[in-house]
Amino acid sequence: MDRDCTDELAARVRVAGASRTPLLIVGGDTKRFLGRAVAGETLEVGQHRGILRHDPAELVLTARAGTPLVEIEASLAEHGQRLPFEPPHFGAHATLGGTVACGLAGPARAWSGPLRDYVLGVRLLTGDGRVLRFGGEVMKNVAGYDVARLMAGAFGVLGVLLDVSIKLLPLPQDERTLTLELDEHAALGKLAELSRGALPLTAGAWVNGRLYLRFEGSTATLGDVQRRVGGEPLGAAGVLWSSLREQTHAYFDGGEPLWRCTLPPLAPALPVAGASLIEWSGQQRWYRTPGYDMFHLADTAGGYATLFRHAPGGLEPFAPLAPPLLRLHQGLKRVFDPAGVLNPGRMYEEL
């Protein structure tokens, strides 16, 4: 099952580069909905799979990009460890490479940090078929520019990820979810207040008038948390957090455009009709709505919007970049993919 397909992939990309044939990079094909459509030949990376190294005492895992996320997570759990950013899978076949390329993190994001914080090193295939290695398997590394982290959320436009090294963290001893009935404004205030304190909050969500708070730590601490925070303990809370992470929660049903707004924690609710769903410590807010200029509204509130799912025709999924930033993006694209064959247009038309 485990296979090193570096040579085949490099040969494919070299041919594509020479003939300027666009390639659509596909791992487990679970996140095609996210981003712009790519017209090109499919480059399957899912065969290039296998965990290469995982020494629990190092808190580092290195695996080939096509390794299924479920395989990695199961292997880590055996050793009492996990991927700290709690990535969404969006399907049974999600791979490590696709996860890193999309740069998505789950409920723990506001406390554990974004996915890119945990990327220690990559081996990647450039658009002209060169295999390069950046970063490594150590926690601290400032040799050369941080190209490894640059790949987190780059949607494959700068290179085909071959191997990725990720920092891990131990699983907590225990967890508990508490729920309180609060309106949106009060919920945002509560999330901000708890985030400022020392309690081990690791996930927050507000949906249908209820605030859900997940705490992790020793069993003794969690009892103490409940006394301090109040609220009702929620049974089988894993189901809730998983339904939020995987967007299988009823809020996400239906085909209306789904906007993700990334906002400063205490930003007031956006002036948009319809219910929102709030995650993290208030920085991630979902809206199901057509007919608003969400890019503008989120920008005004100090953040930005992404049209995550069900984009009506003609709408860009990602917020526009300021002209100097876009020029830098184009310059970087030329460095890593001079022929412009890797996922062209997946993020922005110009990339």
């Binding site: 020494d55 629990p56 005492a57 190092e58 009492g80 506001a110 940090g113 974004p114 890119r116 914080d117 450039t126 060169r130 295999v131 390069l132 950046f134 490594g136 398997e137 150590v138 926690m139 601290k140 590394n141 400032v142 040799a143 050369g144 520019y145 941080d146 190209v147 982290r149 640059l150 987190a152 959320g153 780059a154 131990p170 901000a192 400022r196 020392a198 309690l199 730590g217 020793s218 003794a220 601490t221 990334t262 906002l263 400063p264 924690p265 100090g302 953040g303 930005y304 990602f318 970049l321 300021a322 100097p324 930033l325 830098l328 993006h329 310059g331 970087l332 460095v335 890593f336 993020m347």
Partner: protein, 465 residues
């Protein structure tokens, strides 16, 4: 400033072995003035080197010939501390510790704590992606940044990141962090603040064998505990620190481990018990828990003053900065001891052991003929050991000019060419801190010629002179 007398204090950073009096020193007070300087440099094709407090250890702020030294120390205003959103927005010349002081009334602090935190500026921290003794749990600079404002040499402003914590497009904030002033000049920094932990405990363990101490480091982490700090010192380092700081380190130990745990009281107590059990199993000859805050700070004072303490043992020292996988710790230490004997120069070792970051301190006497060259060669050999163990030539001090040679061992021609191409995207004329951080391929060819590994030359396709 142009007079040699006025410019002289800026001739070097904390890598004092390399000095050059700058031709011009500019001390802007506003971001707009920084931009004017950059535009003028671009117009006149004049190189420009940005500098914060000059505490860098790799020569990154060494002036370049015919260039402007852009000192950012006067951009030192704290623009905003927002306890509700847990962030601080500051100018680049604000010192690392000032941020924590400004946040303290709100029960918050800025986590990365390089040993120079009293003096080093946040702008310099961004340029170097500085670490400290609490990185394993609380992260490096890159993990604690929300946004930066950057002036480019092309005369444009970039807003990277956001107070929401993320921004659309490629993660350029991470790319710019640690880029050593090669890609742009940071004029404003927004950092994430953390709540001051409820409880902090510091445990000191002595070992009569360095290998046992190294083993203990891995075992603590494998036990599912992420200490806030996990610091190790070998015998020469701990004795020098004790002589300097009178901090209560056992003089007869072969190695010392400081393990700090922070968090909620219950969690810290549980972890403390687990760590003590592991350390005993690993053969710790003594265990001591700091009984109060004063003792905790005293126990840290030895470690934090280890560099100047070791500095007293010889007229000069070089501080190395390799990082290795923790499992290689014992082997690399043996290798360093062998090299120390081979070169006839003493080496004292202090480590951020939790994240595998080694700081071997090479003692020498620059006044003795050949000593400096020997020490530099010994340093390069130590970094080779780190690369061979799967590590890196610099964990947190940066490449600057000091590690240009060793960079050639860590990276191949393809990666190095990519670094140069990446710089050209931001700085097409090569005016920002030229000659630093990334070696030329010609230099790598020379470096390779100096040291041939098993008959295999790096960069075989390059001509050699």
């Amino acid at each position: 400033m142009v007079s040699p007398e006025a410019c002289a204090p800026y001739e070097c950073d904390a890598l004092t072995a390399h000095r050059r009096t700058p031709d011009v020193v500019v001390l802007p007070e506003t971001a707009a003035q920084v931009m004017e300087v950059l535009r003028a440099c671009r117009r006149h094709s004049t190189p420009v080197v940005a500098r914060g407090a000059g505490t860098g250890l790799s020569g990154g702020a060494l002036p370049v010939e015919g260039g402007v030294l852009l000192v950012l120390a006067r951009l030192n205003r704290i623009l905003e501390v927002d306890p509700l959103r847990r962030l601080a927005r500051v100018e680049p010349g604000v010192t690392n510790l000032e941020i924590s002081h400004a946040a303290a009334p709100h029960g918050l602090y800025y986590a990365p704590d390089p040993s120079s935190q009293v003096a080093c500026t946040i702008g310099g921290n961004v340029a170097e992606n500085s670490g400290g003794v609490h990185c394993l749990k609380h992260g490096l600079t890159v993990h604690n940044l929300l946004a930066v404002r950057v002036a480019t040499i092309e005369g444009e402003w970039l807003a990277l990141g956001s107070s929401a914590g993320e921004a659309p497009g490629l993660p350029l904030l991470a790319l710019v962090t640690g880029s050593e002033g090669m890609l742009g000049v940071v004029t404003e920094v927004t950092v994430r603040l953390k709540p001051v932990p409820e409880r902090v405990e510091l445990l000191m363990a002595a070992f009569d064998d360095v290998g046992h101490c190294a083993e203990a480091v891995g075992r603590v982490i494998a036990a599912g505990i992420v200490p806030a700090g996990l610091e190790m010192m070998d015998a020469p380092a701990l004795r020098a620190a004790e002589a300097f700081a009178r901090c209560g380190y056992p003089q007869d130990a072969a190695a010392l481990l400081l393990c700090e745990l922070d968090g909620l009281a219950n969690d810290v107590e549980r972890e403390l018990a687990a760590v003590q059990a592991v350390l005993r199993q690993c053969g710790a000859t003594s265990l001591r828990l700091a009984k109060d805050e004063a003792e905790r700070l005293r126990m840290w004072s030895g470690r934090k003053s280890a560099f100047p303490a070791v500095g007293r043992l010889a007229p000069d020292y070089f501080c190395m900065d390799g990082t290795i996988p923790r499992r290689s710790l014992a082997g690399v230490l043996e290798g360093i001891a062998a090299l120390s004997r081979e070169f006839g120069l003493q080496v004292a070792n202090v480590f951020h052991a939790g994240d595998g970051n080694l700081h071997p301190l090479i003692l020498f006497d620059a006044g003795r003929a050949g000593d400096t060259e020997s020490a530099e060669r010994l340093g390069a050999e130590i970094l080779e050991l780190c690369v061979a163990a799967g590590g890196t030539v610099t964990g947190e001090h940066g490449v600057g000019i000091e590690k240009l040679g060793p960079m050639c061992s860590q990276f191949g021609a393809g990666e190095i060419e990519t670094f140069h191409a990446l710089k050209r995207v931001f700085d097409p004329c090569g005016l920002l801190n030229p000659g630093k951080a990334v070696p030329t391929l010609a230099r790598c060819a020379d470096y390779g010629a100096m040291r041939v590994h098993g008959g295999k030359l790096p960069f075989p396709h390059l001509p050699r002179f």
